[in-house]
């Protein structure tokens, strides 16, 4: 944690709202990404962002600096998002026309069929994610949405690296089973025989 951030946190702990604004400016997008990753809905995600920063203002005194600040914030965000999803999960009725569902930015170029397919896919992904246990969902979001390393995930989730890997593995396995109609569709028709033509994911990026 750099000196500037330490100073900012210290001021916020003393009730300085300006310091909270600085923290908000630095982290609000990351918090929104995690929130949206969980609830997959704009209004819900924005409510979570609001709730997280208000909660942070009141509880930041409890942050002792034993872990990195962003892992502390991410954990708070994930817990808030999961609670929010739990509360609203039974109330919300997912539909293709639900407010907050994915809306392509360029609907003129994409045909209506493509938009419908994308909406359907987004809805299916949301439902599939909702079926995952909270810890597996959190692991997938921290890894695929936020790009945290295993070490950072372990810190954010308060568990070991082994547990993180296990949650990722079983989460992905379950999600693949739930989305089996969609996973592998993009692979059809591609030339898989010539490995040199493949840009393999996971390979070292230069």
């Amino acid at each position: 944690m750099d000196h500037e951030e330490t100073e900012m946190i210290s001021r916020c702990q003393q009730g300085d709202q300006e310091a909270l604004k600085e923290i908000f400016d630095k982290y609000h997008k990351k918090v929104y990404r995690i929130a949206y990753g969980v609830v997959r809905q704009r209004e819900g995600a924005l409510d979570i962002v609001q709730e997280v920063f208000i909660k942070l203002f009141h509880t930041i005194k409890n942050f002792k600096g034993r872990s990195r600040f962003y892992t502390y914030l991410y954990r708070m965000t994930m817990n808030t998002a999961i609670d929010h999803a739990r509360k609203t999960g039974k109330q919300s009725v997912s539909s293709l026309d639900a407010e907050g569902s994915f809306e392509p930015s360029d609907s003129v170029e994409k045909g209506p069929e493509r938009i419908l397919l994308q909406k359907e896919l987004e809805e299916r992904v949301k439902r599939a994610m909702d079926k995952l246990p909270a810890e597996q969902r959190a692991a997938l979001i921290f890894r695929d949405v936020e790009g945290l390393s295993y070490q950072e995930m372990a810190e954010a989730m308060g568990s070991s690296i082994g547990t993180v890997m296990s949650r990722l593995h079983y989460g992905r396995k379950r999600l693949q089973a739930l989305l089996k109609d969609y996973v592998g569709l993009h692979g059809q028709g591609r030339d898989s025989s010539d490995p040199k033509k493949q840009n393999l994911p996971g390979s070292k990026k230069e």
Binding site: H28, A45, F102, P201
Partner: protein, 170 residues
């Protein structure tokens, strides 16, 4: 190949997450070049990641956040605002006059004083303010004064036996 697939599959997710050592990376990439099944498994992981990640990235690009901060600010301000009762309570809490060590004995003292005063005030005592002298008789042996208390309709006969000694009968 199957044995190799079995051992490589354990590394595949870590390879996808870029959490492998250089040695492990070489091993996996060497295997992938000759194994379409493992390549497909890797592509599936990528697709899954895309499903999770892309909608989030697109949503965040469209979002306007400044008004979110205004809502947060307002909410914190509202939570800080105290009701009149809370304001009074906080004043009581900090005022030295209302510290428990001070006000309990003070209240107890006032109550006791009030009790004693009430006893004194409301105790029935003869009032001689309403007395009116009816007659005063001087004699050789005794001087007698007769007076009446109007309210209680009592006649008091005061017999003066000696100048230093008084007797009263009613």
């Amino acid at each position: 190949m199957k044995d190799s697939c079995s051992s490589i599959s354990k590394l595949l997710e870590r390879y996808f997450d870029q959490e492998v050592t250089d040695k492990e990376r070489v091993l996996v990439e060497g295997h992938l070049h000759g194994c379409p099944a493992c390549r497909d498994a890797l592509k599936s992981l990528e697709e899954l990641s895309t499903f999770i990640k892309v909608p989030v990235e697109e949503a965040i690009q469209k979002e306007d956040f400044p008004w979110v901060w205004q809502k947060i600010e307002r909410e914190i301000r509202l939570q800080k605002k105290l009701t009149w009762w809370q304001s009074l309570r906080s004043w009581i809490d900090i005022s030295p006059l209302f510290r428990r060590k001070v006000w309990i004995p003070a209240v107890a003292t006032v109550v006791v004083l009030l009790f004693i005063t009430a006893q004194i005030i409301f105790k029935k005592t003869p009032s001689y303010a309403d007395a009116s002298v009816v007659e005063y008789v001087e004699s050789e042996t005794d001087n007698v004064m007769v007076y009446q208390l109007e309210k209680q309709k009592v006649t008091v006969i005061w017999v003066f036996d000696e100048p230093a000694k008084d007797q009263t009968t009613s």
